[in-house]
């Protein structure tokens, strides 16, 4: 049983870490602001959702698990809200979401 929980926890942690990595690469590589933000928001929603349960499985039934659960709920509420606020602020300040085909085409000159 302990081995199963340990394995499950490692799977969750590794996949979560992978999402952080993908988010980081996406933030650097994607062509425009909104797509980059989409990649960045991956880290604070999907990665959190995987990594924190992974740590919770490691912690077992203890006070730490409850605290991690509270952090998880907090991050799940604030992360997407922050992404929304950021996208909204960008839209209000006049940044138009562009057609992706054009921006991918001149990516080398833009960067």
């Amino acid at each position: 049983m302990a081995g199963v929980i340990d394995g499950l926890s490692w799977i969750l942690l590794s996949v979560g870490g992978m999402f952080v990595f993908i988010g980081g690469v996406g933030t650097l590589r994607l062509p425009n602001f909104y797509t980059r933000m989409h990649a960045a928001s991956l880290t604070d929603s999907m990665a959190t959702l995987l990594i924190l349960p992974g740590i919770m499985l490691q912690a077992g039934w203890s006070l730490a698990t409850i605290k991690l659960l509270a952090i998880l709920v907090f991050l799940l509420l604030t992360g997407p809200t922050a992404s929304y606020a950021l996208a909204n602020a960008a839209l209000l300040s006049g940044m138009k979401p562009e057609e992706s085909r054009q921006t991918v085409g001149d990516k080398t000159s833009a960067s």
Binding site: L77, T78, T81, Y84, A85
Partner: protein, 327 residues
């Protein structure tokens, strides 16, 4: 592992510090300062200074960023570029850096038990805290009781800083400033449904967490400074989302002034009460018949004073900036 994380964080800190100096865009600089504070908080946490980490995260990364942004909205977003080379400044910086680097050669290793700082009064504090004060968190015991004078000084520094900011930012308005009301049209971001709903969910819990940090400071990391800034951060979030008027309706300016003055006075009065009851200034042992219970009561009261003052001061400074913003 601690060494690796420490080196990683310090490297990032150095990179961000250089980026802050290099950037001409002040908005970017403010954001980088916020990241700097968050990394610094993580660094403090690695060094087992959880109390300081809490303060740094709440004040440095949270409140200061909001106040910087309020200040930024009053000025230009870009730094004026200076073309002239300032050789004297460069010389002073280089010499200071060399002196500081030279000074680190005499510094004992991190965590060295033979270091002078661990040989002086620290063992005495660790040994006597259970006997004299009877609380698990030695940091709170040192801060509140053994070195109560220092903390009193810190509270009055916060108090003075708050008065200074109010004088500087309120001066142009003269007597009108006291009766200033924000325009009813300013409702913050309340027309945005998602932030509004989420902030309404979160603000009560942030304030509750602040109160927990306040009253749990004797047992775990926390205390007045941290609690005051966390509660203030919660109310600033309310102000950002619902508009400044809503925050001022919840906690009026007069109440904030009362908090700043009252908290500092509570601290001083606890000290005087010790004097009246026949002890020394800030000696809490005489407050109750049982000296240990007296110490705990004294620490509880002065921590309350600290928390109330810090919370009031941060909110008053925030409102002072936000009021200018609307002119």
């Amino acid at each position: 592992m601690i060494i690796v994380s420490g080196i990683f964080l310090l490297t990032l800190l150095a990179i961000i510090a250089v980026a802050i100096v290099r950037t001409k865009n002040l908005f970017v600089a403010v954001m980088l300062t916020s990241i700097f504070s968050l990394l610094m908080a993580a660094n403090f946490f690695i060094l087992d200074a959880a109390d300081v980490a809490l303060t740094e995260a709440a004040v440095g990364a949270g409140v200061t960023t909001v106040i910087f942004l309020s200040a930024l909205s009053l000025t230009a977003e870009r730094e004026r570029s200076i073309t002239r080379k300032r050789y004297l400044a460069i010389f002073v910086v280089v010499v200071t850096t060399l002196v500081l680097i030279y000074a680190t050669f005499d510094k004992p290793r991190l965590g060295d038990p033979q270091a002078p700082v661990h040989q002086h009064v620290a063992p005495w504090y660790l040994e006597k805290t259970p006997e004299f004060i009877g609380i698990p968190n030695v940091v709170t015991a040192v801060l509140g009781s053994f070195r109560g004078y220092d903390t009193l000084g810190e509270v009055f520094v916060v108090f003075t800083a708050c008065i200074g900011v109010l004088f500087l930012l309120g001066s142009r308005r003269g007597p009108e400033y006291a009766v200033y009301e924000p325009s009813p049209g300013n409702t913050g971001l309340s027309h945005h449904l998602i932030p509004k709903v989420v902030s309404r969910l979160l603000v009560p819990f942030i304030v509750l967490f602040g109160l927990y940090v306040q009253f749990h400071g004797e047992y775990g990391p926390g205390g007045g400074f941290q609690a005051g800034s966390i509660v203030a951060a919660g109310i600033i979030l309310h102000a950002l989302i619902e508009g400044e008027a809503a925050a001022l309706a919840a906690v009026p300016r007069a109440a904030l002034l009362g908090m700043v003055v009252g908290g500092a006075m509570l601290y001083g009065l606890v000290g005087l009460a010790g004097l009246v009851l026949g002890g020394n200034f800030l000696d809490y042992s005489v407050l109750l018949s049982d000296p240990i219970a007296g110490q705990q009561l004294g620490i509880l009261l002065i921590e309350a004073g600290v928390g109330v003052t810090v919370c009031g001061a941060i909110l008053l400074i925030f409102h002072a900036f936000a009021a200018r913003e609307l002119v």
